[in-house]
Symmetry: D2
Subunit: 362 residues, 4 copies
């Protein structure tokens, strides 16, 4: 039986006709494992509603996120850009207020946020963990960021290199706000786009790497899977609270999950690889070969390229599967150390993660 | 290559960041065939937006409908019930006005409509093909319907037997509005619910049978298929215009496509069966059996039960496939006439459509 | 990226052209959890190859089973019925011998077996854990079973009530072999068919309940999922060996997974439900309702019907998902005890499993 | 309702237990359209069974091909290589003989064939449309090809550049057999591999381009779709017979469908594009843009890159969908001629097909 998973907004059950239906709502976990010292949260801090240029009611963002396995989101409607305002008058704090009941019912963390949307340069910035959005509606750009800082927000620079901003051009205003510590992160990936310059700058300037959906439209996915998922940030938290999330973001404990790639600092990529990939003992040993099952528990295919001199030239480990690998060896009873590069996990633009697969001896 | 079909609202490309993306939008036809004298349109005349208790911007309804193969829709926000009005002030005609550009760009027919939502009884009614919704916002229920009639609307009674209305209870007020010809159709199916009483009354009182989604939430389907589709009305039109659609509805030329069922008047079920099912000549003839391919070009599985004395007790013809059927016969070279009941096509509550499958002789 | 999971037979890499391709083979675990005292194995002990009336080479059965998450299988070609013998001469032990290398390479348990296929009545019987099939090729039916017993086989009666056997008719010969302890189990489900009489007899006579595929054709499934899976037996073992499997079968520690149903003795159904279903603390408490997430970690949808007086009339818990359930209660801060029947888990023909869902208080 | 499409071999219904089930078998057409002067057949002339190194009974190849929408196949077991011969003694003509009843019952064309499998060089060759395979079992390689010619076979060179054969090396023996007209085609694609050298040689020497599965294992696909399909040859025939197929192959009227690509001579690519792609009249015209729906009826995504100066830089037209394209133009009322390259349709290695999309004026 293939169930059609109905999505339902309990918060809106004022519609009495709807109440008649037996309605429930189901959540599908994605399966990114926790690390030994941290919980892994799937987080999206950039999205829009009808209160700016998005196309859905604020509660929809909560329901979409919950059912597809996210742990925390921020609705970040534009402060300055509201094409629907003739019909939906400007009220910066309303999206958060409207959505928070739906979030509480589901145990999803919703944080108050806004997108500061000035002409570019300097570009757009998301301010997250705000107390009140209204004071950010200032004439001056730097003033708006300063207000965000005053509220102890976490701020990141969105989709660098777009429109008026030149790609890869760091301007004086960016130096100014960086020196004033007015932002702490950058989007390395936004929706369907990857920004290699942002990736590079995050490494050089120790900025937190962010991945976001920037979703305006409806989410048609019922699940996030290796084959098709939303661009998000994996955040390694110590405590499952808003404060815990902010601490992790400020500390830069993130990875970006973008299409078939994972992008981040080597230490977090390594930790995630260790948490999710396991080389099992060989099933059988021939005269000059062994059959080794390799388990990939992650929701991400791993494309490995030989970086040493033992093992197949390429190994693809599909997500959430155990792959049987035949390895030609000189002495099948010896332990083997296989050197590979995970080509779709990036430690820097164009550079894959190096890993070692240790196969047990007899 | 499995493409993720991005849905995009051109009408909202004011968001300059969005424009940067190469965006396109794709439509998947469903595949209900035209009849010899009529075109077949897939139509949904009951849905909601943020302007009443729905959860999306009006243009979303157009994009959802177009990409999933519909030909015409009506946004029918409640006149009397607007739980978002604190944020989205009441303007009855705005959903239509906002969505019509998106509809024109796609060649989808959008008709102006509203749901008259008084206490039940008498229940809710959809008025479609209106010129102006405002005048229907009257104190009296019958007055509102009278105004709809004045505007030459097509009116149907929604989800009979819900809440205050008893199931299967036709009240004096219904006799009054029926006698005054203030409504012409009934929902036989609404979303996930089938109303056998409405089905029966449509047959007895010659009302047009309607199927609608009554969608409030977002549409997560990328296509409408036999396995998973929106509840809709198939309308057999002479001309692909608003006028042509209204004429067909008034004339009762409809079928209701609901889950795995099709419901309607026998003549239209028969016409659709004839248009979509074809018994091909036998591929081979054994001593006492023949192998006959039966093509079902329809987007609907057909579950047939033997009603005569030749052929398998049951035959399932999957949608858009050709099924190989082995038939035991006395003389394999003779033509064969197979009597079956299509158990999932209803000519009346609980009663399947009788069909004959003619197999050619040698 | 949607990978096409290539299935590959390493054992046949003699074909040098094939070797050129980078080939690997992936296994998808199904996700039936272990019980506190037992490991859960997914087992299929009835299938065929070209050596009787099946359509594949013996190694294929191993590869199909491994990639779809099974733990142990038996190839059980018919001893008496071999329609291909003109081209594939009779050799009863060859299927096992040919397939065992492929099984060893994958760490899948393959046990030697055969189907004793005499005229019915008395019907067909599978003998599993044999040392040598040849001696079972005897003229007399009871002699063949006796030889199986001599080899310490586990024997089960297949698809009761088929052809010459009347449904539900237990004959003298069955009493004879039952009294002689020549068989210990019965197929409650075989492929697409459920046998209520066999179900009933297993309960009355303490026979082990078996579910098998009886696959003759190729397996087109890439995974076994709630929506589409092979009919199998879940066996609760103490040790992951052939001996451990046999011990569990003789002790009757099984469940049958058949389409959307699970069938078995109440104690094992209860244990599996406890292992896979978890009521989480309420996310929020309203004045007269609470929102409770219920996690179903099992690869099986659960269809619950209210058997008490609190909670929705029906709750469907989709497989591997957490469902949000709104429960109307008098005092939202009190703990709640919800009584339900799992309608698709059968403790007897037509009788669902009773369960209690305990919701925590504040 | 999602039906599990059961595959069933009527030819093997000797298994009386199986007969009890209501079994049927369904075919899914792929949807490559006919050309104005020719029917389009989907053809696979390279595959194996247990009679050489394949893993299935011959009838399985017929059932797999029929259900997935093919029109003609050849089983081409190796003459010289039979790793199962201890259990399945060598009989070159048996696969064809065993499978032909199943083919006749389904109306699928099965032609007698064999793979001449000598050491490489010179490589492997498929001989198709044979009367008797036995006489090809000769000591000399050229003799075997000569026998195939005597029987009026169509012969093609398989997977060039494999093992002993160097990639891209045309040897004396190839000149000899080419000059003697002992082969007429080459595999441009075999299974998951594309051979650019073979592609180039087909263009230079006017050899027929072939795509084949070379399937040894079971086919797990239930349908052939744009997202996942078998490598095959599209053949443009005048008559739907074995003779008609041979005539078309000898005349070189083929395209190769390989993963997301189509490969062939420009005239056939152009004809197929014309048969399947249709630019519809603009839905709406703005001040400086038009919205044009483009229908792609083909079972293949089309990836277009701008080769002129009007239209988006890239357009992807998903298979069997209509894509809405916004085109910025100077005068929206003028007709427009859009120049594009179909990057995934190859007229030569690395070279896409040039096409023109004509948009109607007002």
């Amino acid at each position: 039986m293939m169930l059609r998973r109905t999505v339902w907004l309990w918060a809106l059950l004022a519609c009495a006709w709807c109440q008649a239906a037996v309605a429930a709502e189901a959540r599908y976990e994605i399966g990114w494992p926790d690390l030994p010292q941290h919980k892994t949260w799937v987080v999206d801090l950039h999205m829009h509603t009808v209160f700016s240029d998005g196309l859905v009611w604020p509660t929809v963002r909560v329901v979409e996120a919950w059912r597809t396995g996210l742990h925390a989101i921020a609705i970040s409607d534009h402060i300055e850009y509201q094409p629907h305002k003739e019909d939906v008058p400007t009220k910066h704090n309303r999206p958060y207020e409207i959505a928070q009941g739906a979030a509480r019912d589901r145990g999803l963390l919703l944080v108050r946020a806004a997108e500061i949307t000035r002409d570019t340069p300097p570009g757009h910035f998301n301010a997250v963990f705000l107390d009140d959005i209204q004071p950010l509606d200032t004439p001056g750009f730097v003033d708006s960021l300063a207000e965000a800082k005053k509220q102890n927000a976490f701020v990141f620079w969105n989709h660098q290199g777009w429109k008026g901003e030149e790609k890869g051009r760091w301007m004086d205003v960016h130096t100014e706000i960086f020196d004033k510590k007015l932002f702490q992160g950058m989007e390395v990936c936004n929706g369907n786009t990857y920004f290699p310059t942002a990736h590079q700058w995050c490494l050089e300037k120790n900025l937190t790497m962010m991945g976001t959906s920037d979703i305006h439209d409806t989410e048609t996915r019922l699940k996030n899977t290796a084959a098709d998922h939303r661009t998000v940030t994996l955040v390694f938290i110590k405590e499952p609270t808003a404060q815990g999330l902010k601490e992790a973001l400020l500390a830069g404990r993130t990875l970006v999950w973008f299409k078939e790639q994972v992008i981040g600092k080597p230490e977090w990529l390594e930790a995630m690889f260790a948490a999710g990939v396991r080389v099992l003992p060989p099933n059988s040993r021939g005269k000059a070969h062994i059959f080794v099952p390799i388990e990939n528990a992650l929701p991400c295919d791993l494309v490995l390229k030989q970086a040493g001199n033992i093992g197949p030239a390429e190994i693809t480990l599909p997500a959430k599967a155990t792959t049987l690998v035949r390895i030609n060896v000189q002495d099948p009873n010896n332990p083997q150390e296989l050197k590979y590069t995970v080509t779709n996990w990036l430690v820097a633009p164009g550079k894959g993660l190096g890993v070692t697969l240790n196969v047990a001896g007899k």
